[in-house]
């Protein structure tokens, strides 16, 4: 140890004294003992967990938190602020809501002009329709009926093996050939020849039918009953269809005077809306009223636009089509407009405040009153927004697609090895003319159903088809894709009858937010109908069953398909039972029978536009299962044709 003594104090350098080390170590040990002693209860405590207790504890905490939040909310509501400040805040909030509503109103006015323009364009296409257009539905029905007559005539010939069956078959063949010629080139001579042919068939079959009935009663044996029973059945079938054929033939018009009611369109009346005045002076409540008026006008124009399109497709008069559209809309009921909460309107609150100020009341107000005022403003703003959204939804569907899209969307190209139609291919897509959607008539759809025959390995498709809705060249999913994602709505009553002329609202306007009150299913207790809403469905199998499947009902399924480029694709539709399919508002497939689901029930080659393509399927269910499937495949990726 080295000790220096430069003053009175003595400093030690080197190792500390042993006593100090001992003291420190004792202190550290004491601290450790105290620490362990303190931690001992923690070590010995068994942590137990009681779920019920924890739940109660959680509920208590939750209730306490809610109570605190409520108290805090009430406290804030009662917080007093200066009336001048409150007025400033109210003014700012009102200006902000008014600016938003003004913007939306301006857009709605533009939308209204757009829909009105589309409506006028669609109406113009109805003015110059010819006799051929007027007679198209009749011609379509004649072709359908003559097919049905042929089916019965074949049965009559093959099953009865009577000379009258052979003679009737020959006449029916002649009738079919004459019908096709007549539909291809309608003349009065051809019309008379058809009438003469039907009269001849009646003259041939009616006596035979009466004779067969006599023979059946006279012989009385089981064999005779079977033999003549078949003859009676098949001959009656031919005669029944022949009667319908004859009545349709009489409905065929050669008189140009019939074109006047057919081509009649309403005179263009100027809009009943108030003039497009600057909306700066309008209050929020007035703007909500203005939005309601604009919405009503847009709905009216949109209905007329749809009616004009339907009249064009189905070759009906505009008034007839409009009555159908209005009937569908009326039956479905209108969605009640969103009503603001039962709060004092902003205008009233303003005047009340002014009144109080004038009376010299307290110069203070509360945060609660300010918040109520803001909520009232927000509710009025929501009214305008709801109208704007409804109008926008209609405008999106009123806009026609590009001309290229509409002109070629229903181009038919018979596949390799497929058969051509039996002379009805004159009703090509180009006949439909205009570019306003809904362009293809029932004749065209039926032409396709008879014209295209594909030999595809259905079992192979069932095994390999993948779900998908997007198509592009580099896609790893190749071959047949089934559409797995749909919005489905229904059921509507169809009374067990197939009536495509009765349209439901989705056929007029697909609005995924709408709710319809004219559904089929009722609440047994109250007797009220359940509202119908669009339901999202995603299926991992190709056969899709609508929710709430009931007998004798109509359903609609809506989806979209995206194509990277415009492309032709085969579309395979299978439905149980009858169905109609629209691609981009154009009818591309129609089924009239009550057949069960079959994958290859209908094949079409249709052109999909670049971008998004809409598919709307109407399914008619009879008293059995209800299923449907839609598959797509580009021709280049088809195998086994």
């Amino acid at each position: 140890m080295n000790i220096t003594t430069d003053s009175r104090r003595v400093r030690c350098h080197g190792r500390p004294p042993l006593r100090r080390i001992l003291c420190i170590s004792v202190l550290v040990q004491l601290a450790l003992v105290v620490l362990f002693w303190c931690c001992e209860p923690l070590r010995r405590t068994i942590i137990s967990f009681d779920a019920e207790q924890a739940r109660k504890h959680h509920e208590q905490l939750d209730a306490r938190n809610r109570r605190r939040v409520k108290e805090e909310h009430e406290r804030r509501q009662k917080t007093v602020i200066r009336k001048d400040d409150a007025e400033t805040l109210k003014r700012e909030a009102r200006k902000k809501e008014e600016a938003k509503a003004r913007r939306k109103l301006t857009e709605m006015r533009e939308m209204q002009q757009h829909v009105a323009g589309e409506k006028l364009r669609a109406l113009e296409t109805l003015k110059d329709r010819s006799l051929a257009d007027l007679n198209k539905p009749v011609a379509s029905d004649l072709l359908t009926l003559v097919d049905a007559i042929m089916v019965n005539a074949v049965a009559l010939r093959n099953r009865t093996r009577q000379p009258v069956g052979g003679a009737a078959f020959g006449r029916c063949q002649a009738l079919k050939a004459q019908t096709i010629d007549f539909v291809t080139a309608p003349t009065a001579v051809g019309h008379a020849a058809l009438q003469q042919q039907t009269v001849g068939l009646f003259a041939l079959l009616q006596p035979a039918l009466a004779q067969a009935a006599e023979f059946r009663e006279a012989h009385g044996t089981e064999q005779a009953a079977t033999r003549f029973g078949l003859l009676i059945h098949d001959a009656s079938g031919v005669l029944h269809k022949l009667e319908q054929f004859q009545s349709k033939l009489l409905a065929y018009s050669f008189d140009t005077a019939d074109l006047d009611p057919f081509n009649e369109i309403p005179e263009h009346s100027p809009s009943s809306l108030p003039p497009a005045d600057p909306m700066n002076a309008l209050s929020l409540a007035e703007m909500a009223d203005r939005a309601a008026a604009l919405d009503a006008q847009i709905t009216d124009d949109f209905n007329q636009l749809r009616a004009a399109q339907i009249a064009r497709i189905e070759q009906r008069s505009f008034q007839d089509a409009l009555a159908g559209v209005n009937e569908a809309q009326a039956a479905a009921g209108q969605n009640p407009p969103p009503t603001p909460n039962t709060l004092p309107s902003p205008g009233n609150t303003q005047s009340e405040n002014d009144q109080r100020s004038a009376d010299g009341a307290s110069p203070h107000t509360t945060v609660g009153e300010l918040n109520r005022y803001r909520q009232g403003l927000g509710a009025l703003g929501q009214l305008v927004t709801a109208r704007w959204m409804a109008a926008r939804s209609m405008v999106l569907q009123a806009s026609p697609r590009s001309a290229a899209n509409t002109a070629d969307a229903f181009r038919t190209q018979p596949p390799k090895g497929g058969k051509q139609g039996s002379g009805r291919s004159k009703y090509s897509a180009s006949d439909s003319g205009t570019a306003t959607g809904f362009q293809n008539s029932r004749i065209q759809a039926r032409t396709r159903s008879n014209g295209l025959r594909l030999r595809v390995p259905l079992e192979d498709i069932k095994a390999r088809a993948l779900p998908g809705r997007r198509f592009h060249q580099q896609s790893q999913r190749r071959g047949w894709l089934f559409i797995d994602t749909w919005y489905v709505i229904g059921p509507w009553e169809n009374h067990g009858k197939l009536d495509y002329t009765h349209k439901h609202p989705p056929e007029i306007h697909v609005d995924l937010d709408r709710e319809y009150v004219d559904g089929k299913v009722k609440n047994r207790a109250s007797g009220e109908r359940y509202p119908l809403r669009w339901q999202f469905i995603q299926s991992d199998i190709m056969r899709i069953t609508p929710p709430q499947e009931v007998n004798h009902a109509t359903y609609y399924a809506f989806t979209e398909v995206h194509c990277e480029t415009a492309m032709d694709m085969y579309i395979a539709v299978g439905t149980d039972d009858a169905a109609r399919l629209w691609l981009n508002d154009k009818l591309v497939w129609e089924d009239h029978g009550l057949s069960g689901w079959h994958l290859g029930e209908g094949f079409r080659l249709v052109q999909f536009a670049q971008g998004f393509n809409t598919l709307l399927l109407r399914i008619e269910n009879s008293p059995s299962l209800c299923e449907y499937s839609v598959l797509l495949c580009p021709p280049s990726q088809m195998t086994g044709r």
Binding site: M389, R392, L396, R470, D513, F536, F612
Partner: protein, 139 residues
């Protein structure tokens, strides 16, 4: 020349530039916060997760909300399904890499969530995340 050691004046930091800097910073933050887009709260209870990736919310994200009744919100404001379809389509055309955050209530039916996810996927918007709540995140 000698320097007097007993000089009373001492060197000190001038406060004026410091106050200038503080005010500039204050103004910067005020202005930058004013550009935040308006957002509203929606009444939802998020599902809980402890393993989710932690990401800070950003204004550029598109927030789609789904409450327990299935009502749809876009950036806190209620919207319709038609409107959402149209907006997602426009967004997909404008910015296919748009980040979308789905805030769904824990009681929202799963098919509603699937519907929104499918809608995003169909519109080629694949940058979608589901927001969850981590109780321990802020501790």
């Amino acid at each position: 020349m000698g320097i007097p050691r007993d000089d009373d004046e001492r060197a000190e930091v001038s406060l004026s530039p410091l106050i200038d800097c503080v005010f500039l910073l204050l103004i910067f933050f005020l202005v930058s916060t004013m550009t935040r887009k308006e957002q509203r709260d929606i009444d939802i209870v998020l599902p809980e997760s402890v393993s989710a990736e932690k990401q800070l919310p950003r204004d550029e994200h598109l927030v789609i909300g789904l409450d327990r009744e299935g009502a749809v919100y876009r950036d806190g404001q209620q919207t319709s399904l038609n409107q959402l379809h149209a907006e997602l389509r426009e967004i997909a055309l404008r910015n296919p890499d748009q980040v979308i955050r789905l805030d769904a209530d824990q009681a929202t039916p799963v098919h509603k969530v699937v519907e929104i996810l499918d809608l995003c996927q169909f519109n080629a918007l694949s940058n979608v995340g589901i927001r969850t709540y981590d109780e321990h995140y802020n501790r």
